[in-house]
């Protein structure tokens, strides 16, 4: 016999049936029936955050680290609007989260009732889809659809807006959780077109100056293993976007670093001079391409993506392949085998070796210095902080970041062994993302080392979550690259606004972070020299502090800039290389 449940009970039961471990949320009037139903069960653990925005980033961090959807529960009105930044963050980076928002009772919708916001309307441009529950009987199927939509095709955030009357404990309906849903209007492509895949394989083996350019789709699609096999098999250079780091191991000899606005010299030069570019799960973002009109003039473009709307949106693809990245790459691997069997002399090893020589020269001339010394009494460089973190953790940490210079340094200097290890807000660029995202990761993997690389500006946007960390005993290690300024803003003002630092400095009013985190019940260190930095980094990650949240406040040179940096309006080869040198138009080699 089917059980009769109230809407609130159905909602909670549906989350259980969906296998949800954690629900990140904050209670309020319109959600109280749901909170009461949560109280009466044990299977879904509710995590009480301190601000709803943080709840969405926690769910997002959890989703990015595991591939499973992250789930949020907030109340109506301000609870719902506070969740919008997190929805937009997840939307831009295509991560699967489900946000359940309480809503005022159906008969009050549209009356400007207390804590009423049109959540469906407010969130519409930043969700993959949204549902307004009209009757408690719809809840099981709505939840099933929400999870299905969030996690399939190009993943994305889904909102379920739940008016209070539909969760009334006195109104019940039969509960049956559907095993699957089928929607005539939503059937995402999985397999790529076999002919297109063969065409791509044939183009790849004939390339003389190839670059494989991969993005977040490889991570979201769990395709880094097959990608790495293909890269090694072909022996081609590979570059990752900010979202795609970990797509190949960061220390692989074929990896030429990140590309784009703050990408490596060699990656951007290789892109510009390539005769073939295979883009995998990447979307030719403006932070990658610079001016699309002068983008990679000689290259044939293969573009693999699950979202047809990403293909030929910015750069026209010569060989478009729509499909799930892993399925397409599996097919490509087989197609390459067939190519090699037919034409064993390919790829043209001489041409590719000559190509590698050029890339190595670029790297030798202006590549990143991965051998920074970590002793002495000078001023700390932000790059040294990341170097120290990388050496101390042996590359074996989940690293989340906030937004700004520290994010770029982390992307440049930490080398990720695989996908889902590097978690940052790439598309929306949400300051305040790092700490709550790290919390989501730590909930998913309680024993893992989780480091949050942040800046003092970003950190102060969500630092109230230090209280949540204490409540749940999350031993996150926060590495704060403290340059006493909004570093990336300051860099642009230094470079493009004659050094007029409009509203980007506040060094006289910074808190003493060590005391601050101690007040929240955690451990804090502050360092100002490279030698102290490395020592404190070791202590931060030492077994003695394994169970503690540790905040390492590393004071760094406020005048350091992130280089390379793309020259606005140029092509990919046009970069500032340091405060004096630019690579513009002219090829260095």
């Amino acid at each position: 016999m089917t059980e009769m449940l109230s809407g609130a009970e159905m909602l909670v039961r549906a989350l259980q049936d969906e296998g949800v471990e954690y629900l990140f949320g904050y209670p309020g009037g319109a959600a109280l029936h749901i909170y009461d139903a949560l109280f009466k069960q044990q299977r879904v653990e509710h995590i009480l955050v301190r601000h709803e925005q943080a709840a969405t980033h926690m769910a997002d961090g959890y989703a990015r680290a595991t591939g499973k959807p992250g789930v949020v529960l907030v109340t109506s009105g301000p609870g719902a609007t506070n969740a919008v930044t997190g929805l937009a963050t997840a939307y831009m980076d295509s991560t699967p989260i489900v946000v359940i928002s309480g809503q005022v009772p159906t008969n009050q919708i549209g009356t400007d009732a207390f804590q009423e916001t049109d959540m469906i309307g407010v969130s519409r441009p930043v969700v993959k889809h949204s549902f307004l529950v009209k009757d408690c009987a719809e809840i099981p199927e709505t939840v099933k659809k929400a999870f299905h939509i969030a996690t399939t095709g190009r993943p994305g955030p889904v909102v379920i807006d739940v008016p209070k009357d539909t969760t009334d404990p006195d109104v019940t309906a039969p509960y049956l959780y559907p095993a699957s849903v089928s929607m005539r209007s939503y059937k995402p492509a999985v397999k790529g077109n076999a002919r297109q895949i063969r065409k791509a394989a044939a183009a790849l083996v004939k390339a003389r100056r190839p670059v494989i350019y991969t993005g977040g789709g490889v991570i979201q699609g769990d395709a880094w293993k097959v990608l790495t096999r293909i890269v090694r098999r072909l022996g081609f250079p590979v570059t990752n976007t900010l979202m795609g780091l970990g797509g190949v191991p960061g220390d692989d000899e074929r990896f030429i670093g990140m590309l784009g606005m703050h990408g490596t010299y060699e990656a951007n030069m290789a892109m510009h001079h390539a005769d073939l570019i295979m883009a995998v799960g990447a979307r030719f973002d403006d932070r990658v391409t610079n001016n699309p009109a002068t983008f990679c003039p000689d290259a044939t473009i293969i573009h693999i993506d699950v979202d047809p709307a990403s293909i030929s949106k910015i750069i026209a693809a010569d060989i478009p392949i729509v499909g799930h990245v892993r399925s397409v790459l599996d097919g490509l691997e087989r197609a390459l085998d067939a190519e090699f069997a037919r034409a064993p002399e390919l790829p043209d090893e001489k041409a590719v070796a000559a190509w590698w020589n050029r890339i190595r020269k670029w790297r030798a001339a202006y590549g990143l210095d991965h051998d920074l010394s970590l002793d002495g009494n000078g001023i700390v460089l932000p790059q040294q902080v990341i170097q120290s973190l990388y050496r101390v953790t042996g590359g074996d940490a989940y690293v989340t970041s906030d937004v700004g210079q520290h994010q770029m340094f982390a992307a440049q200097y930490y080398r990720f062994p695989e996908g889902r290890r590097w978690i940052n807000s790439g598309g929306l660029g949400t300051m305040g993302f790092g700490l709550p995202a790290a919390m989501g990761v730590q909930f998913a993997y309680p024993k893992a080392t989780v480091a949050c690389v942040t800046g003092e500006g970003s950190f102060m946007m969500n630092m109230q979550e230090l209280s949540t960390c204490l409540q749940y005993g999350l031993p996150i290690k926060i590495v704060c690259v403290n340059n006493q300024a909004l570093g990336m803003v300051k860099q642009w003002q230094d470079m493009q606004y004659g050094g007029r630092l409009s509203q980007s400095t506040y060094s006289d009013s910074l808190p003493d972070f060590k005391t601050l985190v101690e007040a929240f019940g955690h451990v804090g260190f502050r360092v100002e020299t490279p030698g102290d930095l490395h020592e404190a980094m070791r202590e931060t990650f030492s077994p003695a502090l394994k169970d503690k949240l540790v905040f390492l406040d590393a004071w760094v040179d406020p005048d350091e800039h992130v280089y390379p940096m793309a020259i606005k309006g140029g092509s990919m080869r046009d970069m500032y290389l340091d405060k004096i040198t630019t690579s513009q138009q002219g090829d260095y080699m």
């Binding site: 309307g121 441009p125 005539r184 209007s185 709307a309 949106k313």
Partner: protein
């Protein structure tokens, strides 16, 4: 280039707002928009007239397909099709001008659907440019009010847009 897109949409609350929102969000223009349920009550059909070259229309089509409630999208202007728009136009009709308005309306096969002592309301159907031509042909007559339905269209021949 003027294009006519036909969109089959789940007939659900909020679905139309997503379509319109998409056009606003992505900076696409809507010239006319019509919407009504189809013979299948679970489906609405939307006809949108917009401007754009092939690349832009391809992007609009792809983005429309990304909306969960969109079932099918067809660019009617890509092939032979029939399109019609309905217009009501209230025109001052006094003295000598009164007969002139009636004559012009007859030439365009308009129907006078309402009459007062000093005004006619004319109903006219046809392709959008015919309606434009009628307004121009009225010349000096004073137009008091115009309402147009926006374009509805259907492809010619056996081709059918269905779920």
């Amino acid at each position: 280039m003027r294009r006519i897109l036909a969109v089959l949409l789940e007939n659900e609350a909020g679905a139309l707002s997503r379509v319109i929102g998409l056009f606003a969000q992505r900076n696409y223009n809507i010239e006319t928009l019509t919407v009504a349920p189809t013979e299948d009550a679970t489906l609405s059909r939307v006809t949108i007239v917009t401007e754009g070259g092939d690349e832009k229309i391809e992007q609009i089509t792809k983005h429309l397909h990304r909306l969960i409630e969109v079932v099918k999208v067809q660019d009617l202007s890509e092939a032979d099709h029939v399109e019609r728009e309905l217009m009501f136009i209230k025109v001052r009709a006094e003295g000598a001008g009164r007969a002139e308005v009636k004559r012009t309306s007859d030439i365009f096969r308009g129907q006078i659907v309402d009459v007062t002592s000093d005004a006619y309301t004319v109903q006219l159907t046809g392709a959008s440019d015919k309606l434009d031509a009628f307004v121009r042909a009225l010349g000096k007559a004073t137009v008091l009010e115009v309402v147009r339905s926006g374009v509805s269209g259907i492809s010619r021949g056996d081709k059918v847009l269905s779920a």
